[in-house]
């Protein structure tokens, strides 16, 4: 961990970002005493930052590690190695119940499945009120109820008093997801970890939720880590994009930059495979079958090399580090880093 020396001039210039990860790694042991014990590398050496009032999209296919990262940030899993810094402090060093509770309010999670994310036996006010009780003890119960109504209004569940009284089965999927956001908002978060919040919703309802997320960023001063597999919706709301493949970051940068000038072959593949009715059908993607690997006991080298049409020798022996290619734009690709043009797909 780097620390600025006290008294150094750099101290004033260095503002710690809201969230920073360093070498974040998570391995799972699979197998038991009867089968061979192997190590699944879900996340390997991931470094990224999230600033205030930013929506950062974390995109990738299944097995890329994106959901694992959300759970690491929510402290559901503990990292195998590496650190997570929130507002400059290591979250692994949060020991007391008070500190851990405080963190869970600052970085709450919104889940993917609207049908499973609310307890069916309670009214939808239950989650919000519990959250307020745990995280806003300074408010009395009347004020807590008012705050619950306020957050329901913010997420568009109006009339809030009426909706608060309902049961989950009386709401539609889109409304339930809004309740999820309201629950997060009630705890006055700085960063919402949204794990594929719109994937299970109908298409015409997604836009409403995506617009809501932008509103939260702009008027509630909340950052959002938007985990998704859909680049189009990432582009619609995110400021920055992180593309993950097989547990590692393939490319990251300002979203327009990355999507108009993708430097990593995998990003190019994703872009060319994404359905876009307004564009003619790209023909390259059909050659790739779309089988992201399960990373078990990996050997060094780029994990994309077997699917990459432009892989060179070094790709097979050295794992490419994430290096800057242009301003704020980083890619983990030997070919891109060598300065050569990357034209793999599309």
């Amino acid at each position: 961990m780097t620390t600025a020396q006290p008294g150094s001039a750099d101290l004033e210039l260095t503002t710690e970002p809201l969230l920073r990860t360093e070498g974040l790694t998570k391995h799972f042991q699979i197998g038991n005493t009867l089968t061979r014990r192997r190590t699944l590398h879900a996340v390997d050496d991931v470094c990224f930052t999230i600033g205030e009032r930013q929506i950062v999209a974390l995109a990738g296919e299944s097995g890329s590690g994106k959901s694992t990262i959300a759970r690491l940030l929510a402290k559901i899993y503990r990292p195998t190695s590496g650190e997570i810094f929130f507002e400059g402090k290591r979250i692994s060093s949060l020991r007391s119940r008070h500190d851990r509770l405080r963190y869970s309010g600052l970085a709450p999670m919104v889940f993917q499945d609207p049908f499973a994310s609310l307890n069916p036996v309670f009214r939808v006010s239950h989650g919000v009120l519990r959250g307020l009780k745990l995280h806003r003890p300074d408010l009395d119960s009347k004020q807590q109820y008012e705050e619950a109504r306020r957050v329901f209004d913010v997420v568009g569940l109006t009339p809030s008093a009426d909706v608060l009284d309902r049961y989950p089965h009386e709401l539609s999927g889109g409304q339930r997801q809004r309740v999820g956001f309201a629950q997060a908002l009630a705890m006055r978060p700085k960063l919402i970890l949204a794990d594929e919040p719109v994937s299970m919703l109908d298409v015409s309802i997604r836009i409403g939720l995506l617009n809501l997320m932008m509103t939260l960023r702009d008027s509630e001063d909340v950052s959002i880590l938007f985990i998704t597999h859909d680049l189009a919706s990432a582009r619609y709301i995110a400021d920055r994009l992180i593309v993950m493949y097989a547990g590692q970051i393939a490319e990251t940068g300002p979203i327009d930059e990355v999507m108009t000038n993708p430097k990593h072959p995998y990003t190019q593949l994703l872009l060319s495979a994404a359905p876009d009715p307004r564009a003619p059908l790209g023909v390259d993607a059909e050659t790739d079958r779309g089988e992201p690997p399960k990373v078990i006991n990996p050997t060094p080298g780029c994990r994309f090399r077997w699917r990459c049409p432009i892989a060179i020798d070094v790709c097979h022996s050295i794992t490419p580090p994430l290096e800057p290619i242009a301003d704020g734009h980083e890619a983990a690709c030997h070919v891109a880093q060598s300065g050569a043009e990357v034209k793999a797909f599309g």
Partner: protein, 342 residues
């Protein structure tokens, strides 16, 4: 099997098909007098959101409905015979040989304790193929057709990746080279690259072997490059049906237009989108007027009082009073009305 010579004519004709669900809370008309026809080798995409009745329609055509769902009217004429009136034996003769079905999730449709090869064998035996030689060679052949190495005949479903499982489902559906293959969201469980690859594969197979396809999905953009015709369903009815390109370029029904607007684009300028306000209707309450009226941007009085029929417009059919020929036909939606994101 050799390529089929293109045959003209209709292979499937659905007339006034209606399906009801008998539920404790009421009777739901999940499919309401749906009619359409399908030509040989045609790729028809049926698109709609949850609750629109598209899967129910599909199951009704394939005669796979079970209580509390029930066909209460209409006919499904396949190659001249009404499937609804057929006996089980007659249906079995048609199933898989002339008409086959690909389900949404391979893991639900494939037997997890049998190898792929064993399941192909079961399917073929059930339809009268007994020669071991023939079974083995045809199984290998269909797997090769979908791009899977025949060595996987020994594999179990859980040993294959998601994409490969879906492909083997399609292979199984093609065992007897049927003339019609019905697919219920076969790609929804797959990632975007696998999805694209599978769609391309399906299209290739269709062109090579000449079968018609009915493809049900909630994601319009997925089928935009593959389907010949597109049918949009809402609240159990056909809202709009016509050639795919036509619908994408200039959607007529306000719902179709709304759906188009709900897809953020990967390329092109960033635009503020609004989606469609409200949520799909509760089908137990019979509506007075058009089902879509409560959410429609272009609604007017008549929409709340009467129920629109399907009106022909410019090569397609639209269930909307705007196109019934009485009022001056409005500008067809598609013109850019959205604002730019600052």
């Amino acid at each position: 099997m050799a390529d089929r010579a293109p045959t003209a004519g209709t292979i499937l004709d659905v007339r006034d098909l209606s399906v009801e669900y008998l539920l404790e809370g009421g009777i739901v008309l999940a499919v309401d007098n749906v009619s359409f026809s399908l030509e040989h080798r045609e790729f028809l995409a049926i698109v709609g959101e949850s609750g629109c009745g598209k899967s129910t329609l599909l199951f009704a055509i394939a005669h796979l409905l079970s209580p509390p769902a029930e066909i209460v009217g209409g006919s499904v004429t396949f190659k001249g015979r009404n499937l609804i009136r057929l006996t089980d034996e007659a249906l079995n003769a048609i199933r898989w040989k002339d008409l086959s079905v690909v389900m949404q999730s391979a893991m639900n449709a494939l037997n997890p304790v049998k190898s792929i090869g064993a399941q192909f064998k079961d399917a073929m035996r059930a339809h009268g193929v007994t020669s071991r030689q023939e079974i083995a060679s045809r199984s290998a052949e269909v797997l090769k057709m979908v791009g899977i190495d025949p060595v996987h005949l020994q594999s179990y479903p859980h040993q294959l990746s998601g994409g490969m499982r879906q492909r083997s489902m399609i292979a199984m559906a093609l065992l007897f080279t049927p003339e019609l293959v019905i697919m219920d969201e076969p790609t929804s469980a797959l990632d975007v690259v696998a999805q694209r690859s599978l769609m391309v594969q399906i299209k290739e197979l269709q062109e090579q072997f000449g079968f018609a396809v009915i493809f049900v999905t909630h994601d319009m953009s997925l089928v935009s490059h593959f389907s010949d015709r597109l049918m949009v369903m809402y609240a159990g009815q056909v809202a709009e049906v016509g050639s795919t390109r036509n619908l994408f370029d200039s959607p007529a029904h306000p719902y179709t237009a709304g759906l188009m607007e709900a897809f953020p684009s990967i390329r092109g300028p960033r635009q503020a989108l609004s989606g469609i306000p409200g949520s799909p209707p509760n089908l137990t309450r019979r509506a007075e007027g058009c089902w879509f009226a409560p959410r429609c941007q272009k609604v007017f009085e008549r929409c709340h009082a009467e129920r629109p029929d399907l009106y022909p417009v410019d090569g397609r059919q639209v269930r909307c009073f705007l196109f019934d020929g009485t009022s001056a036909p409005p500008r067809v939606a598609g013109e850019d009305e959205g604002g730019e994101l600052t």
